[in-house]
Each structure stands twice: as C-alpha cells, then as structure tokens.
Symmetry: C2
Subunit: 501 residues, 2 copies
C-alpha cells in the first residue's frame, strides 16, 4: 500500500505544481506583465489549465484511490495520509464528474464573457452582456446537475465551501440580516462621522514603507513572500515557501493600501502557517473559502481596525505623516477608519454594511438559479434590494449589477457566501483565541501579535485542508459555526463607537 500511496502522491504533487505554475502566470499578469504579453498569456493559461485537467482526471488516480480505499479506512482519523486520500478523492470525483468537453465549452464561454463584461461595465450597459450571463446561468445549472443535490446551488457552493448548503445558509444569513439592518439604520440616523483626515495627500513611498512595517510586525514572512502592486489586490501561492500578496496605493486615501495589505496578509498568514509536511499535497491549502476569508477579516477588521491596534501604531503613523495627522486625535482617527456608511460598492464598504452587500448577491444567485428571477430583470432587482437593505440607490449598472467580476468570470452560485461566512468565522475564531489567551488585547496594544498568530497557527493554520471546514471550526473553537460571537462583536464595537443603547 505504501507504494500505491507514494504513486498517488506523485500524481498529486504534479497537479499541485501545475496549479502553482498557473498561479505564477496569473500573478505576473496582474503585477508586472507589459500589455503586449496579454494575448500569449491567455493562451499559456489555457494550455496549463488543459494539462492540469488531464492530470487531475487521469484514470490512474481513480485506480489508485480505489485500491487505497480499504487502507484509508484502516488509518486513524487524524492520519495525514488518510486526509490526503480523502481530499484527493473529493477533488478527483469532482473533476471526473463533469465531462471535459463541457468544462472546455464553459471555460471558453466565460473567457468571452469576461471580455464583454469589461466593455459593458465601461459602457455602463448591462444589455451588452445580458445574453452572455443568461448562458452562464444555463451552464451553472448544467454544471450543478452533474452532482447529486438538494438545492441546485448546493454543488456550486460546495466547490468553495465544502459541505455548506442553502438549507444551512439561508436561515443563517436571514438571521444575520435581521440584526444588521436595524443596526445600520440606527447608525445612519446619527450625525455622519468625519473621515476627512483619511482623504488628504499621502505620498506613495511613505505609505508603502509604513505598510511593510505593519505587515512584517503582524508576522508576514518576507523570506517566503513579497508584496507588490496590482489593480485588484489578491494573495497567491506558488508553494508553501512562496506566498505572495499584492495591494494598490491611492495617494488621496491612506486606508486603501494599508487595509488591503492587512487583509491579504491575513490570507497569507494562513497559507504560510500550513505545516511544511503538506507541501506538494492537496492538504497544502486553506480548508474552505469561508475559513480563508475569516483570516483576512480577522486581521483586517478585528485586529487592524481595533482601538488597541492603533494605540500602538497611530504614533508611528503620525510620525510618518506629521502634517496630515498632527492635529488629528487617536479617537478621531479610530472613528474615521470605522465609519459606517451605506454605499453602493461592496469592496469599498465598511465592516458592518459589507455583509448586506454579500447577502444581496447570495439571494439574487438563488433567485436566478431557482428561476424566480430572469437575467433581464437582474439590474432592477439589484437596485430594489440596495434600496431596501442598504438604503442607497444608483441608476447606473456599472456601479450595480456590473460591479463585481464574479458572475462574469465564473459560475452563478457559490461565488459570495464565503465572504460573510468569513466575517462570521473571524469573530468565532478570535473569540476562541481570547478564551485560550485572554491577554491578546493587551498584547495588541503593545504591538505584539505573536500569541494570537501562534494560537491561530496551532489551532487552524497548520492543518491546511487536513480537516473539513466544519471539523476545523469545531476543533479550534469547540463549537459548530455560530453567528453569536460575530453579532456580539459588532454590537459591542459599533454600539460603543456610535453610543447606541
């Protein structure tokens, strides 16, 4: 059996490397590639996808998995080998379930759709891309139909958040929304917070240096990563020894680069924290989209937008930008970076309203998949939900239904739930860390992040995908997914900030 396992791992290691090579092609495309390289890069990515798909669906993997089935059952539940076989089986079965010809057709359609979306968005005209999106909806349904399911969206959700279903998510999100909407309303009735101190001129070079210092102090390992500029910040990985992040700098807004860097650092700390024993196996990645997002949000919001964090860093920020911040108190600054303001754009949204943006998209995905909403009516449905849930209205599609790339580059369904699951889980993990290490808030005030980072490494990061998302949440926090710590966190933080009763 050891020979067969070794053979399986050798296949998996090639799949792993092929995926990582594609990741490098993508990273370069989004950081340094000159525009002349675009055509060939599309071809190169398509070729790598083809090769990786052939490798992932190689019948030999299926044969080896069959032969290893009884061996797998004989292994203890915490065995790394058992986990490798389990995740490999899941990925193999997902990959072979869908005919290669269907996948190729769909990928080719999505590539075209992306191009048309770029034009439609810049022309602020949804009708340009409407027929493409209708086809995407068909493809998404067909894709889902290849898998057994209760709800048509379940297989799509399962792709990024294994085991999650509409049956679980719908009441969870509905509960959350019920609590969030009145909170946002109560805040909207108050005098608006003055955040003009963040909108001065902040030279790029100083922002860059300050950001590097912050993320280094948080624990990002520059021997195994680097920070570069891009248009839409992301984290990517070429191996456990090379986990890179990107950011964008706006000279008229100092929060953009800083908080997107901290966000991506959260993702990167997770990947850099995975056990090096997992390198080259399918365990060398986060447990799910939601768990991954929990780490970016934990570091960005719970840590990075906390009062304690800025008690430590604000004097350094003032020293970096003396003109801009000399007359701004810590309290004013803290209120500014936590300003709640109903807005149109998800990626610019504050911590509180962000979830409303996500849940609107989640609901609309379900409406589309269930056939209760036609693609042609989507722009209007979008505007209505923004008015009722967030209290903002904009007639422009570009800032409405065309604002996110997700539906124009991938399936409809499963694209958004991870963001709010991440917010919920960020508080659940942080709460568990505090119970184990109550001194963490004081350490944060002193600019010490090692204990929090260490607890997360020990209880979450090191395991990569060894356990499912549900299992690792239970192991690390002692309970199943629960929205309670998140609501408590929001209510305490924003209740205090806005002096709510």
């Amino acid at each position: 059996m050891q020979d067969k396992l070794k053979e399986l791992k050798s296949y998996l290691s090639e799949v792993y490397d092929l995926n990582n090579i594609s990741a490098l092609l993508n990273w370069d495309q989004n950081t340094f590639m000159p525009k002349g390289g675009a055509t060939a890069r599309g071809r190169q990515l398509g070729l790598m996808e083809k090769i990786a798909h052939e490798k992932k669906t190689d019948r030999e993997i299926g044969r080896l998995l069959d032969e290893l089935a009884s061996y797998e059952k004989s292994l203890p539940v915490d065995s790394q080998d058992a986990a490798v076989i389990r995740v490999a089986r899941r990925q193999y079965e997902k990959a072979v379930q869908v005919p290669a010809s269907f996948m190729a057709e769909m990928v080719s359609h999505l590539t075209d759709t992306y191009q048309v979306w770029v034009e439609a968005r810049s022309a602020n005209d949804f009708t340009k891309v409407q027929s493409y999106l209708e086809k995407t909806l068909d493809y998404s349904r067909q894709y889902a139909e290849y898998f057994p399911h209760e709800h048509i969206a379940d297989p799509l959700i399962d792709d990024s958040d294994e085991g999650m279903t509409v049956e679980v998510l719908r009441p969870l999100f509905s509960d959350l929304r019920k609590q969030l909407v009145p909170l946002v309303k109560a805040i909207a009735e108050q005098d608006p917070v003055d955040d003009s101190c963040l909108k001065k001129h902040f030279p790029e070079q100083e922002q860059w240096k300050f950001g590097l210092d912050v993320i280094r102090q948080l624990g990002y390992d520059f021997d195994r990563g680097r920070l570069d500029k891009t248009h839409h910040p992301f984290m990517t990985k070429f191996s456990l020894g090379d986990v890179r992040i990107t950011t964008r700098v706006k000279e008229n807004n100092m929060t953009e680069a800083l908080f997107s860097s901290i966000h991506e650092t959260g993702h990167a700390l997770y990947e850099q924290g995975i056990s090096m024993n997992f390198e080259g196996t399918p365990l060398a990645q986060g447990a799910s989209s939601g768990v991954h997002e929990s780490q970016s949000r934990l570091w960005e919001n719970i840590v990075g937008r906390s009062y304690g964090f800025w008690k430590h860093f604000y004097p350094k920020l003032q020293a970096t930008f003396p003109e801009q911040f000399r007359r701004v108190s810590l309290d004013t600054f803290y209120r500014a970076i936590n300003k709640v303001e109903p807005s149109l754009i998800r990626t610019d949204a504050d911590e509180l309203t962000y979830n409303l943006h996500v849940m609107i998209r989640f609901d609309l995905e379900l409406d589309l998949l269930e056939g209760r909403l036609a693609v042609k009516d989507l722009p209007e449905a979008w505007r209505e939900r923004y008015k009722s849930d967030i209290g903002v209205f904009d007639p422009k599609d570009a800032d409405g239904v065309l604002q996110d790339v997700h539906w124009y580059f991938g399936n409809i369904g499963g694209a958004f739930q991870g963001y709010t699951l991440g917010n919920i889980l960020s508080a659940q993990f942080y709460d568990a860390a505090l119970r184990a290490k109550p001194n963490i808030p004081n350490q944060i005030q002193d600019g010490e992040f090692g204990v929090l980072h260490g607890w997360l490494k020990e209880n979450l990061y090191q395991y990569g995908s060894q356990y499912t998302a549900a299992d690792i949440v239970k192991r690390a926090t002692g309970s199943d997914l629960t929205v309670k710590p998140y609501l408590a966190y929001l209510q305490e933080k924003f209740g205090k900030l806005y002096s709510l009763k």
Copy 2:
C-alpha cells in the same frame, strides 16, 4: 496538406508556450522570487521540462513531418511554411535522437553539478567538483555520439550555432587570436588609461532613470517588455509581445548597469523585431547563438561605446551626475569606458580582450573532448593559457576554471563559440548597415537610432529563424561570415584610442 500543417503548428505552438512558461519560472526565480520559493521552483522547472520534452518528442510530430515532406519540397524557398517545417524537423530530429532516459540522467547530473559548483567556487576548490566535471565530459561525449559528426564537438556546437563546425571555427579563431594578441600587447605597453571617473559613487535611482532613458531611445519597446534587477543580467521572452531584460546596479561603478542594459537591449531588439506572424512557431527566435550575440555586442560596443553615441549622451550623463562628471571631459570619459586591460574575469573584460577569454575556453573544450587534456589538469591548463594569451595569472580556481557557470550547468562543448562569433558578426552587420545607410554615424551623434534599428529589423530581426544563421548573414551582408570588418573595426577604434601605428 493544409490540415496537416495546421495540426503540426498546433503541436509546435504548445511546445512554444511550454518553453515560454518555463522562461517565466526562470525569470521570476532570478528577479523577484523570495528564497523560500527555491525548492518548489526547481521541482516546477523539472516538471515543465518533462512535459515540454514529451510534447517535443511526440511521435505525432514525426508522423506529420513525414507526411509533409513532399509538400515542403513543393514550397518556394522563401515560404514561411517551408521554414516552419524545416526548423520543426531539425528540432524534432535533435530531440528524438537522444533517448529520454539519457537526457533525464544527464539533466539530473547537471542539476547536482550546479549545486556542487556553487560550493566549490565559494570554497575556491576545484577538486570538489572535479569528479562531477569528469562525468559531464563523459555525458557530453555520449550526447555528441548520438549524432553523425566529423569532430566530436560539432553536434554540441550545432545545438546553438547550427551548421558551425570545428573545421570552420578553429582556423577562424586562430586567425583572430593571431591578430588580437599583438594588439593587446601593444596596448599593454602603453601608460594605463585613467578610468577613475567611472568608480565614484553613483546613486542607484539616478543610474536607473538614465539607463531607462537610453534604452528607450535605442528603440526598446516598453509596451512589450520591462527592465528589472537581477544578479546575472539576461534577456528572456514569454512571447513576441513580452520580451524582458534585466540588469544589475553597482553604485560604485556606473558602467555595470548601463552597458549590461544596452547589451540585453540588443538581444531584446532582435526578439521584439521578429515578425509577429511567427508568434507561436519555432521561427519566433533568433537564428543562432552567434547571430543573437552579434546584436547585443553591436548595440553595447559598436554603438554604445562609440564616440558619437557619447557626444549625444554625455551632456545628459553630466546633468544626471554633475558632481561626478563636471570636471571630466568627453574624451577622458570615452577613453575610460574603452579601457583595454588584461584581466582574469571574462564578464568584466573589455571589448578587445573579451575574445581571448572566449577562445581560451573554446580551445580547452576541444582539448577535453579530444582527450588531450584530463579534467584534473584543467585548472593548470587554464592558468597557463591566461598567462600566455592574456598575460595575467591568478592561482585561485574561483577566478579561474570555476568562474563561468557554463560547464557546470550544461555540456562541455558548444558553450562559448557564440560569444566571439557574435563579436565578429556584430561588425559584419554594422558594416553592411553603413554601406546601405552611410548616414548612421551622424544620426547616432544626434541620438537618432531609428535608421540603424530599421535596417536591422528589415534585414535581420524580422526573419527570426526563417533562415539559418549562414543564410541570413549572407542575405543581410552580401557575404559569408568574415572576420575582416571586425578586425578593421578594432584596429581603427583602438589604433586611434591608443595612437598605435
């Protein structure tokens, strides 16, 4: 036949893209990769090499080439399709001639050898790597034996300089050496040139900006390329739309970054100048190692170290570094950047002695392959040749036989002739350009490089590998490879510089 040709081109396009993906992995490794990425990168490069080798040697390519043989003969000699088939056939036959198992063994040996060489060089101890090099010599001979040949080195030379043989090169180099050695000796008897003006402090940022301005003016297209920092400067290509160059900056020596940038720009102008119709085919590359090097040397030396070039650029350089150059005349600067000085290190050598370094290596390769020199005696043979040919002596292996990576990362044989062929051809091409456009030297004085660049594009660059090196030299210059223009150029330039009779 059109279908078969299309099918062949589809295979070739995948080979092309696979090679270019490996090139990106290499570029990243040598520019931005954090050290933690090294292990996985080696694995990724090995995997891509394996996949590319499988594709290159796919029997289907052989079948298609057979089926296209008579069609190929029916095509006019200048046909692009005929050239695609010809180059594809050459590459396929080279690739299948050598058993995959032998190649894998050799590559694995060379990977080990490289690691040992790094240690041996830093320990200044050739004996550490001697047994590896002995094995490399065996592999090189065995590799050559797979091909029909007159001289054992011919197949190795043919890999990078198609059609070149020892029979041609030995007398050519011998002639050249006979003329160069006395020229170098005559110069060495003169008072040494004072080049202290180049050895002041030159802040990196200003060097960088000046270098960018120069290469942009030479015609390097930044929409289809970029310049980054590395340890050992190189040019690389990911498609005809993405041709990148690298340089290294030394703050105590302003010639390092500038001339290496111009050198790599020469390579890049060649690749950027290839007809876009060739994208994705084996024609989308330079004709040979020697022809490629001719363009780096033409732009670096014949143009970049000419008096006219600096008549234009020196005032700008003085404005960039006013403190450093205020009291340095153009004549002093020009003499400094053209200083001839016998030295130990090839890559630091001046334009004139550089060839002596190369020819020593070429001769030693032949001696080793012919069995007239044992690997264990190589360090001593190296020192003797340096003493007799260049007039310098150093007991250290690190600066002797261990200085170049070539023999420790590839075959012995075929590694060096391209450099001197490049020097010879640089003058032959330039001479032809001058005959067609006699005004070029005046244009250079005005900072205008478009006519020279245009002539090279029209007569050399656009053709990529459509013609063999021998054919393109004949087409572009009207004659076969000849050392005459190069000797005339050297004698005129250095005769004047050193007031020789």
